[in-house]
């Protein structure tokens, strides 16, 4: 068995239900339905086991975590277990009163996602009318009665080809909401985003402009708003150290209780994931087949096996390796040293080719779905 350290963070995907249909969603294409979801008591037990295992941060995500009626109870339970509790949300389903309840339950950090600066464009990307409520919610979060609880407020913006050219306006619009942090995250190509890659992957020129815009904003907002940026790995020379290495720092529990090393690991064929309904979390972390599979270096192929960078990036992302090369052990093709690096170069070249995109439009979801077919697929809700 490969030696392992303690996990530092638990990502709890408490539901896959979501009122938004974002085209870059990182959820798997096959989603878990409501009747398969873990019960409140299961989650509370898992939070206690996670804290005992050394986990410091709990990230409550989904789907839309607010779709769970027991969210306040889950936050209370997490805080009883001494976990730092972060809610990653679209804000849909959060009234002023419910916001107070979550904060009083001990929520430490709220991360609110935005799709774009303009309402029409944002709703087009989300496939639903969500933007106006987010703006209203952001104002509630900054009211003194919420602020006095000491909650941190982050605004998150997923950036891609369809919105990257007005990043400057987006940053100004979000700055006006007075967040503590701003997360500018380029779409990562898994799940729905991979399916929609041809509409989402920015060109090199777009990315270079965006990097300059973010650098200027960082300078201007220093000491007021912290900016964290996630760059798209397709344009990098070397792969990201995905999840800080497989089974090294993080674990994810899906709505049905399966423990995964990351959001996308379910796509790798033949991996067996243990379920928290049947096993204690420490046992899963230490011995489950899925977590063992790519720990350490024994599984590595060349060139990773003898590469100096293997201790820094662990060969990149296993899921991306599988999704693009068909072999989860392969060097992440993002790496310029990867034998199949041309797969990334081809994708960047093809997606950069000039092509006409339909303009943003507003319509009910089923109309948008039909109008945008062939261009991108909106995320659909589990049955």
């Amino acid at each position: 068995m490969t030696e392992c350290s303690n996990p530092l963070a638990l990502i709890a995907e408490i539901t896959h239900r979501c009122p938004l249909h974002c085209v870059y969603c990182s959820n798997p294409l096959e989603m878990i339905s409501r009747n398969e979801e873990l019960a409140t008591a299961d989650w509370l037990r898992v939070f206690g086991e996670a804290a005992a295992l050394g986990v410091l941060h709990l990230h409550l995500t989904g789907g839309e975590p607010l779709a769970r009626q027991d969210l306040t109870e889950l936050i209370e339970g997490a805080r009883r277990s001494r976990l730092y509790t972060n809610l990653i949300t679209s804000g849909i389903g959060l009234s002023r009163e419910r916001l107070s309840q979550l904060v009083e339950a001990g929520l430490d950090h709220l991360q609110l996602s935005f799709q774009d600066s303009g309402e029409g464009q944002a709703n087009w990307i989300a496939g639903t009318r969500a933007h106006a409520h987010k703006i209203e919610l952001a104002a509630w979060i900054r009211e003194p009665r919420i602020r006095e609880h000491g909650i941190a407020f982050t605004v998150n913006l997923v950036v891609h080809r369809q919105n990257i050219d007005h990043l400057e306006e987006m940053i100004s619009a979000l700055e006006a909401l007075h967040p503590d942090r701003m997360e500018i995250a380029h779409a990562q190509y898994y799940g729905w985003a991979l399916q929609n890659r041809s509409a989402l992957l920015p060109t090199r020129a777009q990315l270079d402009r965006a990097v300059a815009v973010v650098a200027a904003a960082e300078e201007r907002l220093r000491g007021r708003v912290r900016i964290d940026m996630v760059v798209p790995d397709y344009h990098a020379r070397f792969p990201k150290a995905c999840m800080g290495g497989w089974g090294r720092q993080l674990l994810l529990i899906d709505p049905a209780g399966r423990a995964l090393p990351c959001h996308a690991a379910g796509v790798i064929p033949g991996l067996r994931f243990d379920n928290v309904r049947e096993h204690a979390l420490d046992r899963i972390w230490q011995t489950s087949e899925a977590f063992q599979k790519f720990r350490g270096e024994d599984w590595m192929l060349e060139p990773c096996r003898t590469c100096d960078r293997r201790k820094e990036d662990f060969g990149g992302c296993r899921c991306q390796a599988f999704l693009l090369t068909g072999d989860a052990r392969a060097t992440d093709p993002v790496c310029e040293l990867a034998p199949l690096h041309h797969l990334i170069e081809d994708a960047v070249r093809e997606e950069a080719a000039t092509r006409t995109f339909p303009p943003p439009q507003q319509a009910p979801f089923h109309v948008l779905q039909e109008k945008m077919a062939g261009f991108w697929s909106y995320r659909t809700d589990p049955k």
């Binding site: 941060h57 730092y84 950090h109 602020r147 941190a152 000491g223």
Partner: protein, 95 residues
């Protein structure tokens, strides 16, 4: 537009910023913040424990000067200042 970045002066009262709090164990305390944690030990821990919103920068420096009375004059002030300014840029400390 917007507010001017606050300057750290003698009368500033440093405290943990919103969404930042102590965690970990008594033997290995950490300061938790939205996307991470810092392990604090040694002098860093002593300084941060004084950042509860009760003491001004001048008072914190004075306490440290009493504790580390062999340190050259002015050195402690400069080190505390740099330390707190770095944590302020990361939105872990407010003043």
């Amino acid at each position: 537009m917007g507010a001017i970045v606050p300057e750290l002066v003698d009368t500033s009262v440093p405290r943990l910023a919103a969404g930042c709090r102590w965690g970990g164990t008594v033997e290995a305390p950490v300061v938790l913040f939205p996307e991470g944690a810092i392990r604090v030990e040694g002098t860093g821990r002593i300084i941060l424990e004084l950042c509860g919103g009760h003491f001004s920068l001048a008072e914190i420096v004075q306490k440290l000067e009493t504790q580390f009375f062999l340190a050259p004059k002015g050195k402690i002030r400069a080190e505390v200042q740099t330390f707190l300014e770095q944590l302020h840029a990361k939105r872990i400390i407010d003043y």
